[in-house]
């Protein structure tokens, strides 16, 4: 990577890492209350819209026949996708021996968990009768009926619950030494006790470290395949169906790439303001930013390839319905502007990252990341809604328009995400102190950084 020359930690060995990282635990950073208020208000919108949906029915959304799935499923796929970058950074890069991840993994994992919280809301809400959602879980029911294992939706339930559980465990395990550090540093009576309980008696003893590192690595090993499998299964929600535009074998890799892509965009959007506000520039350096930007460029190129293969596959199948959807309706139908917007954003926008300056420019990074988040959302809209609006019998073709509740749920989920993230930066160490300190030690003493894989 061209950014290899830039340091991973500026002034390695001279930083009082814990002091820097634990500062927000003692005092709210600038503007924190303001942002918290705003995101709490948006979360209120979410609660309101959920209440409306649950009390009145799914009819308050814009869905119709033929468009049975719309905002609910788009939001679900979008949030799940965002979560993927967290796991990619923390587990996949750990296994791949990429030491630069140390400064980012905490934020990325938190992002994963909060994104999953949001993602979990939508499949539940979009059910006609959400109070029976547990019927999708395989349990020996007194009804004597099992879920239908041919359907990809029970696979979804399994994949996402596994993913959430593992991500939470992995995150918490990584947090343990830092929680102990917080316990040792904070001065408040209650704070000390809360961190004390959460630290589970971590003393930093050698055998504890040894076991911790083994467990951490094992969990990373378990989490890594999930980066690929979860979104592959999500993509099967579409590709096992015969809807033209869904029924495509390229979907699993296509969806995984898109997921990681949008996740990196969200990571950038989160860490760019964070490093400035919390003064973390020495820990999250331009090298980190540049690495992520390079990855985004790669993902953008892969997506461009996927778009071409999708269209080619439809043409090659000679299926008239597939051809109509991929070659007529998508590029030229009523929603064509969204399709071309998607292509422009997801494929063309990241091309600026060929430039080294762009990879290090905060405004460019923020701009492209925000665009990519929009683009990945519209991509799902194009696939899900666009394909459903025009399928086999033209008599049933019908457009789709979201309602205020739909928009409120999307905005509200962004609010909830922000709200949880703000609580996180206030109460938990945003950078893994133990790992950064270790990396700092290795860099300072001229050792080969090992990303913590020596367990």
């Amino acid at each position: 990577m061209s950014a290899a020359a830039a340091p991973l930690i500026i002034g390695a060995g001279k930083q009082d890492v814990p002091a820097k990282i634990l500062a927000p635990l003692e005092r709210a950073p600038r503007g924190w209350w303001l942002l918290l208020g705003a995101s709490a208000a948006l979360s209120g919108v979410l609660v309101l819209c959920i209440t409306i949906t649950l009390t009145q029915g799914i009819g308050t959304w814009g869905n119709n026949i033929p468009v049975g799935w719309a905002f609910g499923i788009i939001n679900f796929v979008w949030w799940i996708g965002i979560g993927h970058a967290g796991t990619f950074i923390s587990a996949f890069l750990l296994l791949m021996d990429q030491p630069w991840r140390a400064s980012l993994n905490r934020v990325a994992e938190a992002m994963t968990i909060f994104a999953l919280v949001n993602a979990g809301v939508f499949p539940l809400l979009h059910l006609g009768r959400p109070w029976f959602a547990y019927w999708l879980v395989p349990y020996p029911s007194a009804l004597g009926v099992w879920p239908q294992f041919k359907s990809s939706l029970p696979w979804d339930v399994a994949a996402i619950s596994t993913y959430f559980l593992l991500s939470a465990l992995f995150w918490y395990l990584g947090l343990l030494p830092d929680l102990a550090a917080a316990r040792d540093r904070v001065t408040g009576y209650w704070q000390k006790r809360v961190y004390g309980v959460l630290a589970l008696g971590w003393r930093g003893a050698g055998d504890q470290w040894k076991k911790h590192r083994v467990a951490y690595l094992l969990l990373a090993g378990l989490a890594t395949p999930l980066v690929v499998s979860v979104h592959s299964i999500v993509s099967l929600d579409f590709s096992i169906a015969q809807v033209p535009g869904w029924h495509s074998t390229i979907f699993p890799p296509f969806f995984v790439v898109g997921a990681i892509y949008s996740g990196f965009a969200m990571v950038l959007l989160l860490i760019l303001p964070l490093r400035r506000t919390l003064g973390l520039e020495p820990l999250i350096t331009e090298r980190h930013l540049s690495n992520i930007a390079s990855l985004m460029l790669a993902m953008g190129l892969m997506l461009g390839y996927a778009y071409i293969v999708e269209a080619f596959g439809a043409w090659y199948s000679s299926d008239p319905y597939e051809r109509y959807t991929a070659l007529v309706n998508r590029p030229g139908g009523p929603l064509a502007w969204l399709y071309w917007l998607t292509v422009a954003i997801n494929v063309l926008a990241p091309q600026v990252f060929w430039s080294r300056r762009a990879r290090r420019s905060t405004p460019v990074l923020i701009g492209v990341s925000a665009l990519v988040l929009v683009g990945m959302w519209t991509e799902r809209f194009t696939i899900i809604v666009g394909s459903l609006t025009r399928d086999f019998l033209p008599s049933s073709w019908h457009g789709y328009a979201p309602t205020l509740v739909d928009l409120g749920l999307l905005a509200g989920s962004l609010g909830l995400f922000g709200f949880l993230f703000l609580l996180f930066i206030r109460w938990l160490p945003t950078v893994s102190m133990s790992e950064v300190q270790r990396l700092q030690f290795q860099l300072h003493h001229g050792e080969q950084p090992d990303a913590g894989r020596d367990g």
Partner: protein
């Protein structure tokens, strides 16, 4: 357990509790003061939980259509056709089917009133009789046209007893004394001009059935020519359809007549015809039709719409008589409607009120404040009419302006009688006691004479004189009174003078405005019926609305688009109506449905459409001169159930000409037979394997099946906004596609319902096993297992699944719940639903057969859609033991599966539509 000792055990606790609850209840329940009798003996025919069918008849425009009403536990739940009645022949139209919902309409008037105060029937009658005085001077009575012998008898007596009471019919012109009858089953060539015989009019069910017989695919298949202003179901069936302004109908007929061999028409008549034919704009078309008609002498028929002036009817008579069709396929009878000669129409009533000669006005069953021509300004007149007493089913526009009001009984609550178009009489028997104490017109007439007779006594008295005692019982059982059909009469062929006088009055307008009764709300009487409001129009698929229908060219000339308002000015009256562009509509013609824009206390009809009657004047009640300019108002968003009309070159609706079929009998072979599949073959172990067959050659798209399905299966309505959001719930819809140039495209229609795929795409994507396959081939929907993911609907290539977006049934009125079929679950919010092949009927029949220890007969199970279909386009049965029709259809080489290539193996099969175009027309445009 006994160690629990002195504490009460669970059992004793329950005993004590039970006893105390019982005592508390007993204290509050004393017998009523009146003597009551225990239900010791089951009343005759009241079988709990068993459906009983009663024959009766339903009236529309004064004429009867026979019906069999299914009653369950004393409440009617479904109207079927009466196979023994000439107007039904077993089919049931949308109006008859929807009568069930009107019966239970919570908006129905429930109590008599005087002014704003609640009154009794007796008080109302007393007030009216006071107004009548001893001889009825200054009193006026207005009635709807009727064919009822009882009403006729009572009117004669009223005339005797109250000699100065003036009587009027709520119509502009008295009905014609004679009517044309047709036997379409024997025709080879049919010419319909501005008529929709297959889907509207008093005999449309009969005509649809008979035409379907004449239309059997084969060498002697009948041919249909249709010329009409706006596409209708009949026009959709046509082999050759000519968009023709209603005002030009006479000109076209003249051209056809002139194209006949010269000796067919006398010289003076030819001269008059030449003048009527004018520029002969339809020459080639008319010539081909004339040649075809002439080649099929005695086997042709010409039908002209009721709104056409007498001259057009006279010319059709001339044509049919010149072709020797009179007496063969068509003949005349006396009209079954009471001769209007002795009474006047509503215009005379208006004059009488205007001149101050009215101090008492009795409105019996009519709604002149809404239906009278606008230039009469009847609502204003009613204020000058002194005492106005109205008998009506609703607190409608007329009721609003009335000082006394009496609720009218619904036809299903009434005793009465009526005659079909051909004169066959039926006794109308009630299938439920009047729910809101309503009375009939007959009862009101009796009350005017101071008699307190009930409806049954009045009807019996009428028929006592005419029929033997046992005939009464038979009439009630059969639904028809034997030997009452009108005999054929001779009607002289119109003379040259008649044609001549017609030619003089003919002045076709530059832009015409055609008023039509609506396919769903008729003249407005069904406007409060939600099933009908939400029923898609067979052609435009419009619901909950009317619109100014016009051709693409005319719209472009005026400068408007669909949804924009067009300001129509006719005889000095202006009305802004949202426009709807209809491909195939005649140019320079605007068609507007009556029956919308109601203002009475009708919660369903509220806000639906505009009142076309505001433009209708007595001088031009059917076809008027109009000018049209872009009008004010925001763009209107129509609630239509289908928004995409092109079939996009896909082959879901197979069709071919008879000629093509001869050359390629196996034309659908690519859409049937085995398809490769990775799934194992399905188990077909059950003794019955259900399947349906729909003959697209016979389906007119009349939509009777849609309402029948709705009634049978408790299908909810979603309202105009629901339809706009594409959330209509119909389990059975009729798709309509257009191909070809927009000025006269070829339309094809296709009833679409759950295809009961053997390898159903919906089933494998349901995460909770809520949609599964039965061993007898049904795709079943388990409502109480459904969690509502809607994945099944997404994966259904036919898009026939319907989702309960809200709790549609939770807010409906208590009375409407009585309309529900108790055999069918009412679905709650959040579950998917769809056509079940009327599984309740299948299982019901199986229970009966099981009790009798036999297997099912082939035709024992009939689905609701199949029963209603007037042209018998739908057959249903078991593949293992099919009915002859089903077996023939399955063996037919026109058979195909929609989306066959997907490998879904649907159990609903279609027969390709075969048309019989005239090769001679091929050279014509």
């Amino acid at each position: 357990m006994s160690s629990l000792g002195d504490g009460p055990t669970r059992r004793t606790f329950l005993k004590v509790m039970g006893a105390s609850v019982g005592l508390a209840g007993a204290a509050s329940c004393a017998p009523p003061d009146e003597e009551i009798l225990p239900y010791a003996r089951q009343p005759l025919e009241a079988k709990p939980g068993v459906t009983v069918r009663y024959a009766t008849a339903l009236m529309l425009d004064g004429l009867a259509t026979g019906a069999l009403v299914r009653c369950r536990d004393g409440r009617p739940i479904k109207v079927d056709g009466n196979p023994g009645h000439p107007a039904s022949l077993g089919g049931a139209g949308v109006f008859e089917q929807a009568a069930i919902l009107s019966l239970y309409d919570p908006d129905r008037a429930m109590r008599p009133r005087g002014g704003r105060r609640v009154a009794t029937w007796e008080q109302c009658v007393r007030a009216i009789r006071a107004g009548l005085g001893h001889d009825g001077g200054g009193a006026h009575l207005i009635l709807e046209p009727t064919s009822s012998a009882t009403t006729l008898r009572l009117l004669a007596r009223v005339r005797e007893r109250i000699p100065r009471l003036s009587m009027y019919w709520d119509s502009l012109e008295p009905p014609s004394p004679q009517v044309r009858q047709y036997d379409l089953a024997r025709t080879r060539v049919v010419l319909a001009i501005d008529a929709d015989p297959l889907a509207s009019g008093p005999f449309h069910l009969r005509y649809a059935r008979h035409f379907a017989q004449a239309r059997r695919v084969g060498d002697d298949m009948a041919r249909l020519y249709v010329a009409e202003p706006t596409p209708t179901p009949t026009g959709t069936m046509a082999d050759h359809r000519l968009p023709l302004r209603a005002a030009d109908a006479a000109a076209l007929l003249a051209e056809v007549l002139l194209a006949l061999p010269a000796q067919s028409v006398s010289a003076p008549v030819r001269e008059a015809l030449t003048r009527i034919a004018g520029e002969r704009r339809h020459g080639p078309w008319a010539a081909v039709v004339a040649r075809d008609l002439a080649a099929n002498r005695g086997r042709g028929a010409t039908l002209v719409g009721a709104r056409q002036p007498r001259i057009t009817h006279a010319m059709a008579h001339l044509l049919d008589s010149a072709l020797g069709n009179i007496g063969a396929t068509t003949w005349f009878t006396r009209s079954a409607l009471l001769a209007g000669a002795e009474s006047d129409g509503i215009a005379q009533l208006a004059t009488a009120i205007e001149s101050g000669g009215c101090h008492t006005l009795i409105v019996a069953g009519a709604n002149p404040a809404y239906s009278a021509p606008a230039d009469l300004d009847f609502t204003r007149l009613m204020r000058k009419a002194g005492l106005v007493a109205t008998l009506s089913g609703y607190e409608d526009e007329t009721a609003e302006a009335s000082s006394w009001f009496m609720p009218m009984a619904h036809p299903l609550e009434s005793w009465g009688d009526g005659r079909a178009l051909d004169g066959v009489a039926s006794v109308v028997q009630p299938v439920i006691r009047p729910m809101h104490g309503g009375r009939t017109v007959d009862e009101l007439l009796a009350a005017l004479m101071g008699e307190n007779a009930d409806g049954l006594a009045l009807v019996r008295e009428t028929w006592q004189a005419e029929a033997r005692p046992d005939a009464w019982t038979r009439a009630l059982e059969q639904g028809v009174v034997e030997g009452t059909a009108e005999r054929r009469i001779e009607v002289p062929v119109p003379t040259a003078e008649i044609i001549e006088s017609g030619a003089k009055t003919m002045r076709p307008p530059a832009l015409e405005l055609v008023f039509r009764t609506d396919s769903k709300v008729h003249d407005g009487r069904f406007a409060n019926n939600a099933w009908l409001q939400e029923l898609p129009d067979p052609v435009t698929k419009l619901t909950w609305d009317n619109a100014a229908l016009l051709s693409p060219k005319t719209a472009a000339r005026i400068g408007i688009q669909t949804g924009q308002h067009v300001a129509l000015t006719s005889f000095g009256r202006t009305l802004a109506v949202p426009a709807l562009i209809v491909p195939g509509h005649a140019d320079e013609s605007i068609v507007l449905s009556l029956g919308y824009g109601r203002t009475g206390e009708l919660s369903v009809a509220q806000g639906a459409g505009v009142n076309a009657g505001l433009l209708r004047t007595r001088s031009a009640p059917s076809i008027a001169d109009v000018t049209a300019v872009p009008g004010p108002g925001p763009t209107h968003h129509f609630a239509v159930t289908q928004t995409h009309w092109s079939i996009e070159g896909r082959d879901h609706v197979r069709h071919a000409t008879l000629e093509e079929l001869r050359h390629n009998p196996d034309l659908t072979s690519d859409q049937r037979g085995p398809v490769p599949s990775l799934y194992p073959p399905i188990h077909t172990t059950a003794p019955n394997q259900w399947a349906m067959l729909i003959d697209l050659s016979l389906c007119t798209g009349c939509s009777a099946c849609v309402v029948s399905c709705q009634a049978e299966n408790n299908v909810p309505v979603v309202g105009a906004d629901g339809v706009r959001d594409s959330r209509e719930m119909h389990w059975l819809r009729i798709d309509r596609y257009l191909e070809g140039p927009p000025d006269n495209p070829e339309a094809s229609i296709q009833p679409m319902l759950c295809q009961h795929c053997e390898k159903a795409p919906c089933e494998y994507v349901c995460p909770v096993n809520a949609t599964v396959h039965s061993s007898d081939g049904l795709n079943e929907m388990v409502y109480n297992r459904c969690v509502g993911t809607r994945f099944c609907s997404n994966n259904c290539p036919y898009k026939v699944r319907r989702f309960n977006w809200f709790n549609y049934e939770s807010h409906i009125a208590e009375t409407l719940k009585l309309a529900h079929n108790p055999e069918v679950t009412v679905r709650e919010r959040g579950v998917m639903e769809k056509c079940t092949f009327c599984v309740q009927r299948i299982r019901g029949a199986q229970v009966v057969a099981g009790r009798e220890q036999r297997s099912l007969h082939p035709d024992e199970v009939r689905t609701a859609c199949q029963e209603a279909c007037p042209s018998q386009a739908i057959s249903f049965g078991s593949l293992t033991d099919p009915t002859p029709e089903l077996a023939a259809g399955l063996a037919d080489r026109r058979r195909y599966s929609v989306l066959h290539e997907l490998g879904t193996r649907p159990r609903v099969q279609y027969l390709a539509r075969i048309t019989n175009p005239n090769p001679a027309m091929a050279s014509q445009p």
